[in-house]
């Protein structure tokens, strides 16, 4: 083993490079094989991971280890702070077909249309009071939610826990997260675990608005408190999150995707953020739409992917941040369910997709953060990186044709150690919303099968009438491929190697290989 490292060191020396020998770097083969060790797969960060990421979605169900914020605990929220957040207006240009939702809210719950929705989500308090419903109004559903609560408590009375109810083509999944109860009703063939994962996200979404401490406090004081009073105006965040859950692979993979950008430019941006630090600044995040440009964090502080997705959701759902500099409290529940962080959210330029999020521990830090942004902007324009960024924004994605595998239609590749994934844009066969959702569900199926809680699999291949799917998990990566139904198994096997080689070649652009800290 030592011999190998020494050999690599000797080779490095012989080649005359002055760079310190990086074991990881020397192990980064150009033709990665599925047998790679974690940390050497394409897309693996060369220093350390940027954020804590779940190895798999099971992580969601493990209790949050209350990582006490060592950065001075944020004081509990007061109503004023809270209003800043929930007072946000929903995005004026709602994403895609999102605008119809206001209509469905008023739907008659005894109607066939209400029943036939693919997925219902309900949130209620332990007193059985409605807090959220995806379709219809909470008032009309109060008796239905009462029944849900009755079922939960009945089973609880037997010192047991209700999990799910199954009928042909319909399932009901329960999640009790005191003081809330979440119920999902799905007519898709999604597995229980997938649905449960979505309910967890909704739970964290609500906690991110209130903190768990406050949530507990409210219900300890008044058991039948109507939480909608506090959450009014924030439903769009949950609606939007649900929409993302159906469409966005990042939530499925517990990973984040990056804006393709030459590593030299990305490094300039990262070091710009690194330089624009402040005492209470914990995370600096630069987004381009749904894609991460870079993330710089305080040393020893990690951002959990769930928290990052909640930030993505907050930014993506609200248009008000476009109007100027936003300052909003946000609880990052995987970091600390007890307190608020304060996020400075602003777009780099009006009309630009580039959004900077500076997360501070101090609620009085607005002007400091604003100044950090200025410093960052100055540095960015000085080094002409801004121009490069704007260029990169023009092609935020890539076509699968670039990989050069004819029968390959689409793929998802996740580097486990960095928690980053890459995926091409949807090909023409999956242009409609319906087709894209269907493809996502196929990926969900593969994901569930590979990550079965007791019978996990290494490889899953499905040959069907509309497409052939192949998924594999190794210690370093997860790979999901979608082929045309004409592809053979031999093609699929060859495609894996070819694709890994291609990703290795492109990893500088597709991943963040050198994450920075302040």
């Amino acid at each position: 083993m030592d011999g190998g490292t020494q050999g690599a060191a000797a080779a490095a020396w012989e080649n005359g490079t002055l760079a310190a020998v990086d074991r990881l770097q020397s192990d980064r083969a150009d033709s990665p094989t599925p047998g790679l060790v974690e940390g050497t797969e394409p897309g693996a960060g060369q220093r350390s991971a940027m954020f804590v990421h779940a190895q798999s979605f099971e992580d969601l169900s493990t209790e949050v280890e209350d990582r006490e914020a060592q950065l001075g605990k944020s004081e509990g929220c007061d109503a004023e702070e809270f209003n800043v957040l929930v007072g946000e207006k929903p995005a004026q240009e709602p994403r895609n077909n999102f605008s119809s939702d206001n209509k469905t809210k008023e739907e008659d719950i005894s109607s066939e249309a209400w029943r036939s929705h693919k997925k219902h989500i309900f949130v209620l308090s332990e007193a059985g009071k409605p807090i959220y419903t995806r379709y219809g109004t909470e008032e009309a559903l109060s008796s239905t939610m009462g029944v849900m609560m009755a079922l939960v408590s009945f089973v609880e009375a037997e010192k047991n826990i209700i999990r799910s109810i199954h009928a042909d083509g319909c399932k009901v999944v329960f999640l009790t997260k005191s003081p809330l109860v979440l119920v999902g009703v799905s007519k898709t063939c999604q597995s229980d675990k997938e649905l449960l994962r979505e309910l967890h996200y909704i739970y964290y979404q609500i906690v991110s608005l209130l903190t768990l401490t406050q949530l507990n406090h409210i219900f300890q004081n008044k058991q039948n408190y109507d939480l909608r009073r506090l959450l009014a105006g924030s439903e769009y965040l949950t609606d939007n999150l649900l929409f993302r859950l159906e469409r966005d692979p990042s939530l499925l993979l517990s990973a984040v995707t990056c804006l393709p950008l030459a590593s030299s430019f990305r490094d300039v941006v990262s070091s710009g953020l690194q330089a624009a630090k402040a005492k209470n600044l914990v995370f600096s995040i630069l987004l381009a739409g749904d894609r991460l440009v870079t993330l710089v964090r305080k040393k020893d502080q990690f951002l959990h992917h769930i928290d990052l997705h909640l930030v993505f959701n907050l930014v993506g759902s609200s248009s008000s941040f476009r109007e100027g500099e936003g300052w909003t409290p946000i609880c990052l529940p995987k970091f600390n369910t007890a307190g608020f962080f304060h996020a400075h959210i602003s777009y780099l330029q009006p009309g630009s997709e580039l959004c900077l999020i500076l997360v501070s521990t101090d609620r009085e830090d607005f002007f400091n953060m604003s100044e950090c942004k200025q410093r960052f902007m100055e540095r960015l324009s000085k080094r002409s990186a801004f121009q490069a960024l704007k260029e990169a924004l023009k092609c935020p994605s890539y076509s699968v044709a670039q990989v050069g595998i004819p029968e390959l239609r689409h793929f998802l590749y996740k580097s486990k150690s960095s928690g980053l994934y890459t995926s091409p844009e949807f090909p023409t066969v999956y242009q409609t919303d319906g087709e894209q959702e269907r493809l996502m569900r196929l990926y969900q199926d593969l994901h569930s099968a590979l990550h079965h809680p007791t019978r996990p699999l290494r490889t899953f291949y499905r040959c069907g009438e509309t497409e052939n799917m192949l998924a594999l998990v190794t210690s370093g990566f997860e790979l999901y491929l979608c082929f045309s139904p004409l592809a053979t198994k031999a093609m699929a096997v060859a495609a894996v190697n070819k694709l890994l080689k291609w990703i290795r070649k492109e990893e500088d652009r597709l991943f963040i290989l050198t994450p920075l800290t302040y």
Partner: protein
């Protein structure tokens, strides 16, 4: 100083519990609609010792679950409820009659130090809904085979008669459920057919025709060899249930006396009749016995106007068994039985040795018997034919499989995947243990293969399965 006594050390071991039957009950919500009358809804409850209020509570929960599910899908009733500790399966075979089976999840008991009670960990992902849902449906089919539908007892003697019949049947039947060894084969509930050459098959068919011709009372006939079906005049669904009864209950109880030594007590008194080995498995044990009773079990099978009641005569010679079914309104007499014995006994004995000979020849030409090269399960939804080289032999008590239970569950998972979409599919997976499992669904047929070739890749696995299909299923087209 720390000393661990051997007793303590052994006490520290984890204990593993397999899934087991917690409750089994049948209720009809319309029988006690008023408050305070809830007990009247309950028609059968196992275990019967359960306290009345708990019975009422458990039935109440089921009613609530069923009602609640209707909010979202009014046409599709709830089928199962998952909880941390158990799973409940609901089945409404006849309007308003609900059968509920509660199965405890397998669990691991981990001892704690310092005399604290052990920690129990429930394994919630081990039970497959499809398997146990099928078990509940099988319970009802078996009841119906011997008693007719619930409505029959209701018409004949009201709730009381139905409760008596349920008690009598399920008290014994539930003891024969072996929940820990249920698997994919229960989902299929298939019939294993005996492979036979055309000539011998024709011989059997002409035998059946001749017997039905001479003994015109016989309405239906079924013919089995070696616990495998060769010919049946019954509807498929009835044959499936009857087949299950014969192979898991009746045949195992009458283990081959032909194989026992001459002086063995197992060998029945052939009473000087050395012309044949025929004997009745139902009805009289010995025809020569003047005290012999000519009572046969009654079964109910589907007919044009609902169902018909039949006497079930099972007659066996060596490994060949023939079932004769006679309208229940006719009394089966000693004369009839003697006639049947005289006619069928010698012919069946002859047929049995013919089939045996054929079988041995075939086996010799196809190579010596050895551990099957491929482990597979095949099922055809059209004719219910099933074939498994994974299961050694299904007996009344245990079902031995030659593969790890987790692999069997992966087969079950793939089967669930297939059931979701109505199109031809192929699924190939590699388990963490490096076993490959292949499932193919093609035009009502399903094939599952387990391959123990750890270093093989997808292409090699595909080649192996192709080879299997070529040797075992050469006339069946499977999607490639």
């Amino acid at each position: 100083m720390l000393m661990i006594s051997p007793k303590m050390a052994s006490g520290m071991q984890e204990k593993q519990y397999t899934p087991c039957l917690l409750n089994f009950f049948i209720y009809n919500p319309t029988f006690g609609p008023r408050e305070g009358e809830e007990e009247k809804k309950i028609l059968f409850y196992h275990p019967s010792e359960v306290e009345k209020n708990e019975k009422i509570r458990n039935v109440g929960l089921c009613e609530a679950i069923v009602q609640f599910t209707r909010t979202f899908c009014p046409t599709k009733p709830a089928k199962s409820l998952h909880t941390q500790k158990n799973r409940q399966f609901f089945f409404e075979p006849e309007e308003n009659f609900w059968i509920v089976m509660v199965v405890r999840n397998p669990m691991i008991e981990k001892p704690n130090k310092d005399g604290k009670p052990p920690t129990i960990e429930y394994q919630e992902e081990e039970i497959l809904d499809t398997v146990y849902g099928a078990v509940v449906r099988q319970c009802y089919s078996m009841y119906k085979l011997f008693n007719g539908p619930f409505s029959r007892a209701m018409e004949a003697g009201g709730v009381e008669l139905l409760m008596q019949k349920l008690e009598k049947f399920f008290y014994r039947y539930l003891q024969t459920l072996h929940l820990q060894s249920c698997d994919l084969l229960d989902v299929f509930g298939g019939i294993s057919f005996f492979p036979l050459d055309k000539m011998t098959y024709l011989k059997i068919q002409s035998f059946v025709n001749r017997v039905e011709e001479s003994l015109s009372l016989i309405k239906y006939t079924a013919f089995l060899y070696n616990d495998q079906l060769i010919w049946s005049g019954l509807e498929q669904d009835d044959m499936r249930t009857l087949y299950k009864y014969l192979t898991t209950s009746l045949f195992p109880r009458h283990s081959e006396p032909e194989l026992a030594g001459r002086d063995s007590p197992l060998r029945p008194e052939v009473a000087g009749n050395l012309l044949h080995y025929g004997r009745f498995l139902t009805g009289p044990a010995n025809l020569k016995d003047p005290e012999a009773k000519f009572r046969f079990p009654k079964i109910f099978v589907a007919s044009e106007d609902g169902y018909e009641e039949l006497h079930l005569i099972v007659y066996k010679a060596m490994s060949a068994a023939a079932c004769f079914m006679i309208n229940a309104s006719v009394e089966v007499t000693r004369e009839f039985c003697e006639q049947l014995d005289g006619l069928v006994g010698p012919q069946l004995t002859l047929l049995a040795s013919d089939i045996c000979e054929q079988f041995t020849i075939n086996r010799r030409t196809s190579g010596p018997e050895k551990e099957p090269q491929f482990k597979f399960i095949y099922f055809n939804h059209m004719n219910l034919a099933e074939k498994s080289t994974i299961h050694m032999r299904k007996t009344a008590s245990v079902c031995l499989t030659s593969v790890h239970p987790d692999l069997m569950k992966i087969l079950g998972d793939i089967n669930c995947d297939f059931a979701r979409v109505d199109e031809d599919e192929e699924i190939i997976v590699k388990a963490m243990t490096d076993y490959w499992v292949v499932g193919k669904k093609s035009d009502q047929r399903e094939l599952y293969v387990i391959l123990n070739q750890k270093n093989a890749n997808l292409i090699e696995v595909n080649e192996e399965v192709k080879r299997l299909c070529a040797t075992q299923f050469n006339n069946i087209f499977f999607l490639d």
